[in-house]
C-alpha cells in the first residue's frame, strides 16, 4: 500500500481494495518503525488520524465516493492545525497549540484528506538542509549521513521513505524544490498568491508560497486543484481563475519551446548534474519539445538580493515573538526589556538569530538604501529577466541545485557556502513565478532534480511537462533501499 501514488490510492479506495483505516494503520506503523532513524515527524497524530479514517470509511460505505476521501497526508509544521502543536521547529513554539487551521489544511481536510501529523523543518523555514530544526535534523533516506535539503526537510523525507504518499511544504527560496531534488520527489512551488498563506507562519512575506511534495506530477496536480484559489483572509491571495490541471496533463509536448538559461550551466554546476540535465533535455526533445539558449543576466545577484529581502522580512515578522502573548518566556525577568532580550535569545536558534541580525542591519538607519532598497531594485531586474525570456519561450529548464546533498554538519559553520547553494531556486521566488523540480537521474546513489519554471499562473504547463516526462522515465518511481 505504501508504494502507491495518491492517484492510485484514490482508485484503490474507490474499488474497496483496502479501507482508509487499513491504509492509515499501515502508514502509522511504518512511521513508528522507520521514522526514529529519519526524524521526519515532529508530531504524529495517531488517534485523530485513525478516527478520521474510520469516518472516511463510513462516508464511503454510505455511498459518498469523493476522489480525495480517505487519502493520507502530513503537513509541514508551519501550517496552523487547530488543537495540534504547530512548532515551526522552534523552541519558542514547542508548546504552541494552534487555535485555528490554515486555509490550505482546511481545504484538504474538507476534501477528505487524513492528516497523519506534522513534519520537521528548518526553524521558521530558515535553512536549506533541515539542520536548523530545534528537534534535530531529518536524514536523507537515500543516505542517512546526508541532509535531505530544506527547509521542507521532513516533508521530503517522509514522502521519499514512503511513510506518507504526499505532503505540504512551503517555498520562500527553494524550500520545496531543493529537498524534492535531493530526495527524488516531484515538488511544486506555485505562483506567489496562488494558494492562500492564511495560517502559514510567515518567514518572508513577499516570497513565501505554500506547495506540495509528491512522487509525481499527477499527484501534485490533484493537490494543487484542491487548494488553489482566492482567500479573502490572505491579503496577497490572487483572484486569477484556477485552471483544470488534470485536463492538460496528457497533452503532448509538440511545439513547446523551452529556454535553457546559460547562467544555470556555469562552472558552479557539478558537471555530473549537468549531464543529468542534458539527458532530460534529450528525452523531452524526443517528446516534441524544442530548446533554445536564453540569458537571465541578473541571476548572479539573486542570492545577495534574496538574503537581504528575506532577512529583512524575517526580522520584522519574528518581532512578534516577544515572550508576552505566546511562545517561550524566560524565567524571572527583571523588567520588560530583560524579558524581551532573554526570551528571544533563549527561544531562537543560531540561524534564525543570524537572519534577524542581517535583516535588522539592512533595515537600520543609514543602511536601508544601500541594502534593502538596492535588493528590491535587483529584484525588479530579475523579474524583468524572466518576463523578457518568456516572450520567446513557454518554459525554462535547468538544474534545481548546483550540487548533490551534502554530508550532515559539513556546512553548518559556513553560512555563505550554504546560502550559495540556493542560486538556482531563489530567482523564482524573487520574481514570484511558479517552479517545479522533478527527479531526472541518479549520481552515486543520490537523486538529481531538474527544475522547470513557467510564466505567472502557468502551473498547468509545469505539471504537463513533468507528467509527460514521467510517462517515459522511471526516476520518480524509485525507492531508497530499506524503505
Amino acid at each position: 500500500m505504501h508504494q502507491l501514488t495518491l492517484a492510485n490510492i484514490s482508485k484503490a479506495l474507490a474499488a474497496k481494495q483496502f479501507s482508509a483505516r487499513e491504509l492509515t494503520s499501515h502508514l502509522l506503523s511504518r512511521i513508528e518503525q522507520l521514522d526514529p532513524q529519519l526524524n521526519s515527524f515532529i508530531t504524529v497524530s495517531k488517534e485523530s488520524a485513525l478516527q478520521q479514517a474510520t469516518a472516511a470509511d463510513e462516508l464511503r460505505s454510505s455511498g459518498i465516493n469523493a476522489p480525495l476521501l480517505g487519502l493520507p497526508i502530513a503537513h509541514k509544521d508551519l501550517f496552523c492545525t487547530e488543537g495540534v502543536r504547530t512548532s515551526c521547529a522552534s523552541k519558542t513554539l514547542d508548546n504552541f497549540i494552534a487555535p485555528y487551521t490554515a486555509t490550505v489544511v482546511d481545504k484538504l481536510n474538507t476534501a477528505g484528506f487524513i492528516s497523519l501529523g506534522k513534519l520537521n523543518m528548518d526553524e521558521f523555514a530558515m535553512g536549506s538542509s533541515g539542520e536548523t530544526s530545534f528537534y534535530g535534523p531529518s536524514k536523507n533516506p537515500w543516505d542517512t549521513q546526508r541532509i535531505p535539503g530544506g527547509s521542507s526537510s521532513g516533508s521530503a523525507v517522509a514522502v521519499a521513505a514512503r511513510l506518507i504518499p504526499v505532503s505540504t511544504g512551503s517555498d520562500s527560496g527553494g524550500s520545496i524544490r531543493q529537498p524534492a531534488a535531493f530526495t527524488g520527489l516531484t515538488g511544486i512551488k506555485p505562483t506567489y498568491g496562488r494558494i492562500s498563506r492564511w495560517g502559514m507562519t510567515a518567514y518572508a512575506s513577499s516570497l513565501d508560497q505554500a506547495g506540495f511534495l509528491a512522487h509525481n506530477a499527477e499527484d501534485c496536480a490533484m493537490l494543487l486543484q484542491a487548494t488553489a484559489g482566492f482567500d479573502e483572509r490572505d491579503s496577497t491571495s490572487s483572484q486569477q481563475p484556477v485552471d483544470d490541471y488534470a485536463a492538460t496533463l496528457t497533452q503532448p509536448l509538440k511545439g513547446l519551446r523551452i529556454g535553457l538559461p546559460k547562467e544555470y550551466f556555469s562552472s558552479d554546476l557539478d558537471s555530473r548534474i549537468g549531464d543529468v540535465v542534458n539527458n532530460s533535455i534529450e528525452q523531452l526533445k524526443q517528446l516534441g519539445a524544442t530548446f533554445v539558449e536564453i540569458s537571465l543576466p541578473s541571476l548572479p545577484h539573486a542570492v545577495p538580493a534574496y538574503y537581504v529581502i528575506a532577512s529583512a522580512e524575517a526580522s520584522t515578522n519574528l518581532a512578534r515573538f516577544d515572550g508576552v502573548r505566546f511562545g517561550h518566556r524566560c524565567a524571572d525577568p527583571k523588567n520588560l526589556e530583560d524579558l524581551y532580550l532573554r526570551s528571544r535569545d533563549e527561544a531562537f536558534g543560531k540561524e534564525v538569530k543570524r537572519r534577524i541580525m542581517i535583516g535588522t542591519y539592512a533595515l537600520s538607519t543609514g543602511y536601508y538604501d544601500a541594502y534593502y532598497l538596492k535588493a528590491q531594485k535587483i529584484r525588479r531586474l530579475i523579474k524583468n529577466d524572466f518576463v523578457s525570456a518568456f516572450k520567446d519561450v513557454d518554459l525554462i529548464l535547468g538544474p534545481t541545485t548546483p550540487n548533490l546533498p551534502w554530508l550532515l554538519g559539513s556546512k553548518t559553520n559556513d553560512p555563505v557556502a550554504a546560502y550559495l547553494e540556493d542560486i538556482y531556486t531563489v530567482p523564482a521566488n524573487l520574481a514570484g513565478i511558479p517552479g517545479l523540480s522533478m527527479p531526472a537521474g541518479m549520481i552515486d546513489g543520490l537523486p538529481v532534480g531538474v527544475q522547470l519554471l513557467a510564466p505567472y499562473f502557468q502551473e498547468a504547463r509545469l505539471l504537463q511537462v513533468a507528467h509527460q516526462f514521467q510517462q517515459h522515465t522511471d526516476w520518480h518511481a524509485r525507492t531508497p533501499a530499506g524503505f
Binding site: 487555535p99 498568491g193 548572479p300 508576552v324 518566556r329 528571544r344 535569545d345
Partner: protein, 95 residues
C-alpha cells in the same frame, strides 16, 4: 564589509536578542562573511530601476471597515505565558 564588535552589539540590542559575549564574537565573524557576499550587489547599476516589493505588483486589497471576526480572546490567552483577568502580564513598567 567587516563589522566591528560594537556594531554587532548594537544590532543585537535593536533586534532585542540578549546575546552573550561568545555569541557576539561568533556573530561578528559570520555576519561579516554574509555581508561580504551581499555587498557584491553594490556593483550593479540600478540608478534608473524602481524597487519591487510585491512580485505581482499587486496593490493592498481593501475591504469595508466592518467587524468580520468574533472575539477569541480566551482561546488566544490560553497560549500566553502569563495572564490575569483577561490581561497579558508583564513585569512592572511604571513605578
Amino acid at each position: 564589509m567587516a563589522l566591528k564588535r560594537c556594531d554587532v552589539e548594537k544590532l543585537a540590542y535593536l533586534a532585542r536578542l540578549g546575546m552573550d559575549d561568545t555569541q557576539i564574537d561568533n556573530t561578528t565573524a559570520s555576519l561579516s562573511d554574509v555581508l561580504g557576499m551581499i555587498d557584491a550587489m553594490q556593483a550593479v547599476n540600478t540608478d534608473t530601476i524602481e524597487p519591487l516589493a510585491n512580485p505581482l505588483e499587486a496593490n493592498q486589497r481593501l475591504r469595508p471597515d466592518t467587524v468580520t471576526e468574533s472575539n477569541h480572546r480566551d482561546d488566544y490567552q490560553t497560549l500566553a505565558p502569563a495572564v490575569e483577568n483577561g490581561l497579558y502580564l508583564v513585569p512592572k513598567v511604571i513605578d
